[in-house]
């Protein structure tokens, strides 16, 4: 275990602006964020899978030295590391920079020196007034060209908007360099995106002068955001609404540029990393004569559990846990949840506090919103069995404030409901209506006792979806209609039977549908190709008869039986005399093979600390080619789920 490097001995560390405060010389070590203080310095300390690190290292070596044949260098120009936030993408690179001894030149968007904020489509802005009025993107471009062209001088001319990271104070001109782009320009703006692509592309073109080595390689770090609910179900592209998410492949627009994808950090790796961190922390404090109390193992477990694979937030939480001296203080001040179990185990209180620290706001909101809506509490509902008498009293008090709606006329009296404890106006939240719709849709059946109740909810979902059309997310009424129709239809009170709130399977289905539709495309083109090759029909060579005669829907619905027969036939024949019929693309089974199974509905259980975005794509250990039926029906293993009581606790 390497000795932890102190902030003061090291050039400034960047963890995306979080370290801004630490720029000032720090006397008190307690003020430094652990994230910065114990940044990993060797591969052993990285909580990333070995193979991922190895992938990046190999790429870097090839970029610097050209691999075994020394020819790869000009092809290794841009590497894109992607993955969710806090999966050690940047740290991996920094560790490798230390190991392979290269320096990192980094681009930062500096807002303070920003020119005119409006970026126009034309060349930089109108000439005149301000000479410094260089747009941010021009600066970016200038940075790129400069970084590419004059690598060694660059370090000395390092000025305001360009900050170079030097590993050592004495700079040798021969030192290898690498350009790191983490703080990308505003890529949602179309013209900017196009210029960005153009700039990258020009860097990819190998220099004509072969003797001259190409400029330093570029590493781009992209933090993913997950799939959004707004993505339309159609085979169409989302018209608006999906602007929050941009496809990384599209943004980069260069083939073969994508590098390894980082996955959320595995609990085991993270636990190990946190333990070493703690060991070194308390070890070093002792040297200063201070006493430190190492938090117990269970705190680490909770931190790891609630971090959702985000090591940065885990470390933050851990630091907090050590600073506030948890179990003692939490009893008095840390909110209802902790108090509820007063006299209960230490574990619950620690858990409550830590969760309050780590979870993201949005996840909390989604989880609570669903709980509120789906449990549909109304005035004078008997208090839930697990509530303490005090809470029950509070509920009664609340009930007194609710005014009953005036009774409806006889002919619509079946719509009479008691006043709801859920205030629809107050449920406005950062969750968009389509996300709420998906979650409601996934879960409502567990909360209904009768099919008539389902009818109301389904009708609401269907209506909201169809009224909004392509822009459902923007409709001002969608959210409230959804909430109110669901509340109106659910039984009161909702019987409690240990319901578990699940994540929508919709995303998963959507991905599979896209895969299958690619497969249909494969088969279509296979049909065409097949014909062009085997044109020895008795009517002479006529190519492409099938062109345009088949549509996707036709292939998907009608060709299944034939493909199945062809498969069986091929198997029989290959036993006898070797393949006779041409082999259709293997992927056709994605749409042609549909076994009936009485499996239950899958779906991960939604945990309180998850933000409802479903990560796309799986582990890359998974063989993508093996898209075979056995896998497709595969239920997903549920993650740890929380008892429904937990929803209540946090309200």
């Amino acid at each position: 275990m390497a000795k932890p490097v102190r902030q003061s001995q090291r050039p400034s560390v960047d963890v995306k602006g979080k370290s801004k405060e630490t720029r000032t010389p720090v006397d008190d070590e307690d003020d430094i964020l652990w994230v910065d203080k114990y940044e990993p310095t060797s591969e052993a300390e990285l909580a990333v899978h070995k193979r991922k690190v190895e992938d990046v290292r190999r790429w870097l070596l090839e970029a610097f030295e050209g691999g075994p044949s020394a020819k790869l260098r000009k092809y290794r120009r841009i590497l894109a590391l992607s993955g969710p936030a806090g999966t050690a993408k940047t740290s991996t690179l920094r560790v490798l920079s230390r190991e392979l001894d290269f320096e990192i030149l980094e681009w930062r968007n500096s807002m303070s020196e920003r020119g005119p904020s409006v970026f126009t489509n034309d060349e930089p802005g109108p000439n005149g007034l301000d000479f410094d009025a260089e747009t941010l993107f021009d600066k970016f471009q200038a940075f790129l060209t400069r970084a590419m062209a004059c690598n060694s001088i660059f370090g000395h001319h390092n000025t305001t908007q360009i900050r170079s990271q030097t590993q050592s104070s004495t700079q040798r001109p021969s030192k290898r360099q690498l350009v790191l782009l983490e703080d990308l320009p505003n890529l949602l703006h179309q013209p900017t995106q196009m210029r960005f692509q153009a700039a990258l592309r020009s860097l990819c073109i190998p220099t004509s002068n072969l003797s001259e080595p190409p400029g330093p390689p570029i590493v781009i770090i992209l933090s993913d955001s997950g799939l959004r609910g707004e993505q339309p179900d159609d085979d169409s592209w989302g018209a608006g609404g999906s602007a929050r998410r941009w496809d990384k492949k599209e943004v980069l627009d260069i083939r073969n540029v994508l590098g390894p994808e980082f996955n959320p950090i595995a609990p085991t790796l993270m636990t190990k990393a946190l333990q070493t961190l703690l060991a070194s922390h308390f070890g070093s404090l002792d040297a200063h004569g201070r006493e430190g109390k190492q938090p117990p193992r269970e705190v680490i477990d909770i931190v790891v559990g609630s971090s959702n694979g985000d090591i940065r937030s885990a470390i933050m939480a851990l630091q907090f846990a050590c600073v506030v001296d948890l179990p003692a203080s939490s009893m008095g001040s840390k909110g209802k949840a902790a108090r509820k179990n007063a006299g209960g185990t230490k574990r619950t209180s620690v858990r409550a506090v830590l969760e309050a620290v780590t979870r993201r706001e949005q996840s909390l909101v989604l989880f609570h919103l669903l709980g509120k809506i789906l449990y549909n509490k109304r005035k004078f509902d008997p208090p839930a069995s697990h509530l303490s008498s005090k809470d029950a009293a509070k509920e009664r008090e609340l009930d007194m404030q609710l005014t009953d709606p005036s009774p409806l006329p006889v002919w619509i009296s079946h719509h009479n409901r008691k006043a709801s404890r859920v205030c629809a106006e107050a449920t406005e939240s950062p969750i968009d209506s389509s996300m709420l719709g998906l979650y409601t849709h996934q879960n409502y059946t567990q909360f209904c006792t009768d099919i008539d109740q389902c009818d109301g909810i389904c009708e609401g979902l269907s209506w909201v979806d169809c009224m909004g059309g392509a822009l459902s997310a923007n409709s001002p009424y969608a959210f409230r209609t959804l909430t109110l129709s669901t509340l109106h239809s659910l039984p009161t009170p909702v019987p409690r039977s240990g319901q578990k709130v699940c994540k929508p399977t919709w995303f998963d289905v959507r991905t599979r549908e896209l895969e299958a539709s690619d497969a249909v495309g494969d088969v279509l083109s296979w049909l065409g190709k097949n014909e062009a090759v085997g044109g020895d029909t008795d009517q002479g060579a006529l190519s492409l008869v099938s062109a345009g005669k088949w549509t996707h829907a036709n292939v998907a619905t009608e060709l299944g039986g034939w493909l199945g027969a062809l498969n069986r036939c091929n198997i029989d024949r290959s036993k006898l005399q070797g393949g006779h019929h041409p082999q259709p693309p293997r992927t056709h089974r994605l749409f042609s093979y549909l076994p009936w199974s009485l499996g239950a509905v899958g779906g991960d259980v939604l945990g309180e600390n998850e933000d409802g975005e479903v990560e796309r794509g799986g582990d890359d250990d998974e063989d993508r080619d093996a898209r075979l039926p056995g896998k497709m029906g595969g239920g997903e293993e549920g993650k740890g789920w929380l008892e429904d009581d937990d929803i209540e606790d946090a309200e």
């Binding site: 849709h441 099919i451 389902c454 979806d465 099938s546 036709n554 009608e558 041409p582 509905v601």
Partner: protein
Amino acid sequence: MSLWVDRFRPKTLDELHYHQSLSTRLKALASSGDFPHILFYGPSGAGKKTRISCTLRQLFGSGVEKLKIDQRVFVSPSRRKIEINVVQSNYHIEITPSEAGNFDRVIIQELIKEIAQTQQVDVSAKQRFKVVVINEADTLSRDAQAALRRTMEKYMSNLRIILCANSTSRLIAPIKSRCLLIRVAAPSTEEMQTVLEHVAKKLKFDLPPEASCQIAEDAAGNMRKALLVFETLKMQSPDLSGPLNIAKPDWETYCHKIADLIVQEQSPERVMQVRAKFYELLSHCIPPTIILKTVADRVVERVDEALKADVMHWAAFYELRMRMGNKKIYHLEAWVVKIMCLYKHFTYNIDMSEFD
């Protein structure tokens, strides 16, 4: 080797086996020198596309069979790239704009304008105009249809449009009124048998009449399906003797089982099971409208006479919603729940009346 459907597809109007009067009319139109815009409509597998290509051949001669497939890239107003496959010859171009989803308007406008503005340069060409074939015209969005309507008038001098659709009900009236509507009806069982026998003769083997009859009846007017089934059966048992075992497509059996699930039990848990099945179908690229139709047909078979009309009414209702909305599963499920409600109340009421 290619599919029999493609291999024995008739190339000229004379080779067509059924709807002879239609063929004569098309022939007359092609030689009249005043060829109109045409809308071919009729059920799937009736032979619309075959007739279109035969008509084209009649118009332009065999040159129209020299096809090439291009992938064209269009840029939408929001600068998104749309790739679409285009089949074309020197005389015509064939597109399926629905591949582009919501951006079909862009395709229609760009592509048609481009073709319309270039005159036919080939002096030896039989006609002064080019033909644009638009497949799956009934899935065109309103926008695209409106764009098409204008184009049809404006570029009449050097462009003719042939639309191909399953039904005219989804096309806007101005388009219908600008086209000559030609209905290609599904072939009868006897007509299909003739085609099957023709294929068998070409392949030089014997097709027992019972077999051809069975295949034709099973296909229910879908020639493409009949030929595919025929080829599949031939692959499985080369002599085609004895009672044939025509397997339904997996998805169809699946839909029937879903219908059974709906009728058996009406409860929230059952809704959940049905949803899982729908998801499975959707993830196999089965179009949601087809799912709804197949399941509804089966449900109608299984419920009481009094409920049949309602089942279909709601199917139509939610199919419309499905078109307007985004997430198909909501509407499929809403329909299922509605049917379950109806069914449950219906059986409940019967029980009550028996008590009285």
